[in-house]
């Protein structure tokens, strides 16, 4: 059975093949490109399932393989792949969601002019993401980390003719790049401190105490900065909502389920580094917690269906970070678990939103409404997604969220617990606000909505199913998933440090969390479903608060005026400096030379008398000079 894992490198390879095929024959394939993409991804998915299954069966030993890639001096840099619990899980999630999204896109993108290009990008993304999750060393992680960023950029800017898409793509790329910078520096520093890019060797070095504590903290925080960028954590979250300019399937795949979760994955993959430093963990926890509540509060007021979902994603990612940061085995399991369940239900929500947008051709929720009857499947699956994300028993979200709350509670971090519960309330509220506005009530827009084709609803149903059942693999009563996850090498290190955590909340906490969520839903129903409470009560009562939330706390404006505008000014200043000082200095020298030349040129006026005067002047100078220098030697200085 060991043989199967040896071929895990094929998993990312198939999407790459698909990419190459579509690039080469895109024009001939036309919409057949979808078939190619789906087929190759399906093969990958099959392999991933087998790999996962094998891991699940065997547990314990990780499989690692590498080849020499580049020699620099005496250092050999390798490329390879590694299969452990976390990787196997990620492989499964990524291939599954990617497959479903590609199937869905066949319907959603139907008729698009650049259909093959879309699949081309999707395939490239899938390849990169898979490459990222099986990478055994930081350099490889970084390489694929950047590649997924580029794919995200390409896909966000897919509608290249739209200025908003252009701006969003640019923003997505640059903001994540700022985060990548941290990762980059972290990798370089770790390389010099430990002499390797290999994760295993880095962990060994830490275990052996080769690194000073401040080094570990610094490296961990730098890596986390990378995660902040990718996972849209505060303060680099601004790109993610804007990235919704991309086609909706892309939002589902990249900006909900997989790529943005890469930050969480990165922290999880380098978790031994983090747990060696309390400071780093605290940073992770507080940034995660703050992002969770911050993004959720913005999500309350947004009008664009996809933006609500985007802020919800940011918030949920903050939740995961929070879980990872709170410490310990429980947090690790909870974070990863939530990553998985979130991938399913958030992809479901996005695809559902896509289905709605496909039908009504608007993204403004206030122009929707009454779609429940017109698109029953979409509505139903969307409801399931909402219930899952709100954490209603027994949907997947319930179990994972409850695991996080439990972990936080156990770590006695009550401030974070409070934030988490509040965020859960917000989540429940804005998700159902969205649901009621979209599906309940009367139709507000002028549109002939109808149910999407089967190729789109199929994936929705599958994801809905997963959103219902995925939670059951890690109930407090049977923590199969947690036990399995902690049985790997990384898991062992974590358990060595913290001991096996229970990681599940006390019953009262479960009930409290559930109650809060239900409260949120109730409020949403009262305001938008039944309209018992006027929905503009709060905006009218406290317009500044509403504006603050609606305008996203002015973070974008802040960045614009604090970073972009000064940069432009600096640029203009330096431009002037370059033109007039650096270049001007040289020109000045040239001009002076030319001026002296011109001066002499003017003296050459052809007037004999001027020349005579000049000669006289020279003679005078000579006489003066000789008289002054030859002291006591007579006029000509001969006497001495």
């Amino acid at each position: 059975m060991d043989t199967l894992m040896q071929y895990a490198w094929l998993i990312p390879l198939f999407p790459l093949l698909a990419f190459i095929v579509i690039v080469s024959f895109g024009r001939q394939l036309k919409e057949g490109a979808a078939a190619v993409g789906i087929l190759f991804t399906a093969v990958s998915f099959g392999l991933a399932v087998l790999t996962f299954w094998q891991r699940f069966q065997e547990g314990a030993t990780d499989y690692k393989f590498s080849i020499d890639w580049l020699k620099v001096g005496d250092i050999v840099i390798t490329m390879g792949f590694e299969i452990n619990q976390l990787n196997a899980l990620m492989l499964l999630i990524v291939t599954l969601v990617s497959l479903l999204v590609q199937i869905y896109s066949k319907g959603y993108m139907h008729g698009d002019e650049r259909f093959p290009v879309f699949y081309q990008y999707l395939a490239l993304f899938t390849f990169s993401m898979l490459g990222l999750v099986i990478a055994p060393n930081l350099l490889q992680i970084y390489i694929f980390w950047e590649l997924v960023g580029v794919c995200s950029f390409l896909l966000v800017g897919y509608y290249y003719f739209k200025p908003e898409a252009k701006a969003a793509a640019k923003k997505a790329f640059i903001v994540t790049r700022i985060g990548d910078l941290g990762l980059f520096i972290g990798i370089c520093l770790l390389f010099w401190w430990t002499g390797s890019f290999e994760l295993s060797q880095i962990f060994d070095s830490i275990a052996l105490g080769k690194l000073e504590p401040w080094m570990i903290t610094l490296a961990a925080i730098l890596i986390f900065v990378g995660a902040i960028g990718k996972s849209g954590q505060f303060p680099l979250h601004t790109w993610l909502p804007d990235a919704m300019e991309g086609p909706t399937p892309v939002s589902a795949l990249i900006h909900a389920a997989t790529m943005v979760a890469a930050g969480v994955y990165l922290v999880a993959a380098t978790y031994p580094l983090f747990i060696a430093s309390d400071a780093a963990l605290n940073v992770v926890a507080y940034i995660g917690g703050f992002t969770a509540i911050f993004a959720a509060s913005i999500g309350l007021t947004q009008k664009d269906i996809k933006r609500v979902l985007a802020y919800s994603t940011v918030s949920q990612l903050g939740y995961m970070m929070l879980a990872l940061g709170v410490a310990g085995a429980a947090g690790y399991v909870a974070g990863t678990f939530h990553l998985m369940t979130h991938a399913f239900f958030k992809a479901l929500l996005f695809l559902g939103a896509g289905s709605v947008i496909h039908a009504v051709h608007t993204q403004n929720v206030f122009e929707m409404g009454g779609l429940w009857k017109k698109m029953p499947i979409t509505a139903l699956t969307f409801l399931i997604g909402c219930l899952a994300i709100a954490g209603i028993f027994p949907f997947a979200g319930f179990w994972s969220k409850e695991a996080i709350l439990g972990a936080v509670y156990e770590a006695h971090r009550y401030d974070l617990l409070f934030i988490a519960i509040l965020a859960a309330f917000f989540t429940a509220f804005y998700m159902f606000r969205l649901f009621f506005l979209t599906f309940a009530g009367e139709a507000r827009g002028k549109h002939e909505a109808h149910e999407s084709p089967g190729v789109m609803t199929g994936p929705l149903l599958i994801l809905a199913l997963l959103a219902i059942v995925a939670g059951f693999i890690n109930t407090p009563y049977a923590p199969v998933f947690g036990d399995w996850l902690l049985s790997g090498e990384v898991g062992t290190i974590i358990e060595d440090v913290f001991g096996a955590g229970e990681g599940h909340a006390a019953a009262w906490l479960q009930i409290a969390a559930l109650g809060v969520s239900i409260l949120g839903i109730l409020l949403a129903w009262l305001m938008y479903g039944k309209r018992a409470i006027p929905s503009d009560a709060i905006p009218e009562a406290m317009p500044w608060l509403y504006q603050l939330s609606y305008r996203k706390y002015f973070v974008d404006e802040f960045y614009h005026y604090v970073v972009v505008v000064p940069l432009g000014w600096l640029g203009y200043l330096l431009n002037l400096f370059d033109k007039y000082i650096v270049d001007g200095l040289v020109s000045l020298i040239a001009k002076i030379t030319r001026g002296i030349g011109a001066l002499h040129g003017r003296a050459q006026n052809g007037q004999v008398q001027s020349y005579g005067a000049m000669v006289l002047f020279g003679l005078l100078l000579l006489i003066v000079a000789i008289t002054l220098t030859a002291q006591g030697g007579g006029v000509l200085g001969i006497g001495q």
């Binding site: 390489i143 590649l147 790049r177 640029g571």
Partner: protein, 513 residues
């Protein structure tokens, strides 16, 4: 094979002469024939340099394909024994792991630039003759192992470039050409002084011998040079090549050249001629005076960072696509300096990778800008837009080129950037961290420029613009192919570099500790 190998370098260096001779006998009005000869003429050195690449011995760290011949001997006096004492200037060629890839790069870029000259219409005959003379100079610079010979070839590149810019450039071509000549002339003068001083002290112009004598403390000629004196010489050589590279504040000539020169010449200029600065810096600056270079490393790093950030910030505000790319070149050459400043194998490797990779990338981008200019008659960013609609292929390549330029993994730019910074992090982490800001800024200005040109709504006047023609597809695809090849399989370039860098680094680090 034996004979061919023994004079292979001479063949490469002077092979463009064949085209020059043939062109000299082609009547002026037969433009088509001249073009064909011009392009085919570059294939000969390309083939020969590929032979060089193929038969290069990766295990050896020293010089290969060496050729030595007596050339000039100036009798200057009698020795006590009565023998005539004379200055010998030899004709000495040879390549090692650093210069071999550069020769291959030169051959490749030259061929592509010749193809890119296909749309040239003005005074074709002179154009291609100068073009091939320029080639001789470039090959000679990388192949010569004698300072005198090096200098001659170095100067030989200036003259044709001067005319190529001054006659075939855009609006302010004469000014650009003059500026080019002025700066580079000053650089050459400084370099010549340094060379002459070296010659006076050491009585040899052979690069290997010079390095050897300077390294051996027992040698009287070497002992006669105090560390301060050596530092002065190092600075002179540094400045000479810093002007070429170019390093802030000697960069302004390059902007003019990049904006005014014809696209094919910019490809060569930015792709190869700038690289002569980096090559000379490594070979002569660091190779001759490792100790002094080590002392100077911090300043080199600071200059490198200034180059990176200064270039990047300025590229951000430029209105002309060509200016963006010119400043981008400055910014990228800063990375070369950073790699050198690291003074370790990783850094040097990064720097040399950057030299090669930027050669390909900038050639690609400038070629594209030339294409765009030909179709739209503008290179102002504000006037362009939405070209992805009418020229999807070219826009795609442009995006890919920009990605390579900003260091996307899987492309050559990443490898060089990564290793240069990685090397520097080992020595000066704080400076390196400041320098990495350049990575973000690069993304900022490149995306701004490229997205503004290719994305967005398509103005009506660009709707009918044609996509790349077959003659243009070739260079685009080949260049991108090389960029990706080096990015995915860097060993192709690292292997030859490896052994040679190993010989330089011990000297450096052996002293510096």
């Amino acid at each position: 094979m034996g004979l061919a190998n023994s004079i292979l370098l001479t063949l490469i260096v002077f092979s463009p002469l064949l085209a020059v001779l043939i062109l000299a006998f082609v009547p002026r009005h037969q433009g088509g024939v001249i073009k064909k000869i011009g392009v085919l003429g570059t294939l000969l050195p390309l083939a020969l340099s590929l032979m060089l690449f193929a038969s290069f011995n990766y295990e050896s760290s020293g010089l290969q394909f060496t050729e030595t011949a007596k050339w000039i001997s100036i009798p200057v006096g009698l020795q006590q024994s009565g023998a005539i004492f004379s200055f010998d200037l030899g004709y000495e060629l040879g390549v090692d792991g650093i210069s071999m890839p550069l020769i291959v790069l030169t051959a490749i870029i030259a061929t592509l630039a010749a193809v890119a000259s296909w749309n040239q219409k003005k005074r074709l005959k002179e154009y291609f003759i100068l073009f091939h003379l320029l080639l001789i100079g470039m090959f000679g610079v990388f192949a010569s192992q004698n300072l005198f010979l090096f200098f001659i070839f170095f100067e030989l590149t200036l003259v044709p470039t001067y005319f190529l810019i001054g006659i075939w450039g855009y609006g302010e071509r004469e000014k650009a050409a003059n500026k080019f000549l002025l700066y580079n002339g000053i650089g050459s003068a400084v370099m010549l002084i340094a060379f002459i001083v070296l010659f006076m002290y050491l009585n040899t112009m052979n690069m290997d011998k010079i390095a050897e004598i300077l390294a051996s403390s027992g040698n009287p000629a070497s002992a006669a040079m105090s560390p301060e004196f050596r530092f002065g010489l190092f600075l002179a050589i540094f400045i000479a090549f810093a002007i070429k590279l170019p390093v802030f504040p000697f960069h302004t000539w390059m902007l003019k050249v990049h904006v005014q020169a014809p696209p094919a010449i910019v490809m060569i200029h930015s792709g190869i001629l700038l690289k002569m600065g980096a090559y000379g810096l490594l070979r002569m600056g660091i190779g001759f005076f490792p100790e002094q270079a080590y002392q100077f490393a911090t300043w080199m790093a600071v200059l490198g960072i200034i180059n990176i950030l200064y270039g990047a910030v300025l590229a951000f505000v430029q209105k002309d696509l060509k200016m963006v790319m010119a400043y981008s070149s400055i910014s990228h050459m800063g990375i070369v300096l950073l790699g050198f400043a690291a003074m370790n194998t990783i850094g040097f490797q990064g720097a040399m990778f950057q030299v090669i990779s930027h050669g390909f990338i900038s050639a690609l981008l400038f070629f594209l800008i030339g294409m765009i200019w030909e179709r739209t008659k503008t290179s102002m960013i504000d006037e362009l837009g939405g070209l992805a609609k009418s020229m999807p292929f070219a826009s795609g390549i442009m995006l890919a080129g920009a990605m390579a330029s900003l260091g996307l993994p899987g492309m050559s730019g990443f490898i060089s950037e990564f290793f240069a910074f990685l090397g520097l992090f080992g020595q000066m982490p704080i400076l390196a961290a400041i320098g990495t800001l350049g990575i973000v800024l690069t993304a900022v200005y490149l995306l701004r420029a490229v997205l503004k040109t290719t994305f967005g709504p398509t103005p009506g006047r660009f709707a009918g613009v044609a996509d790349a023609q077959p003659m243009e597809v070739v260079p685009l695809v080949v260049l991108l192919g090389f960029i990706i090849l080096i990015g995915v399989y860097p060993a192709v370039l690292a292997n030859p570099l490896q052994q040679t860098l190993k010989t330089i680094v011990p000297i450096v680090t052996g002293i510096g500790g």
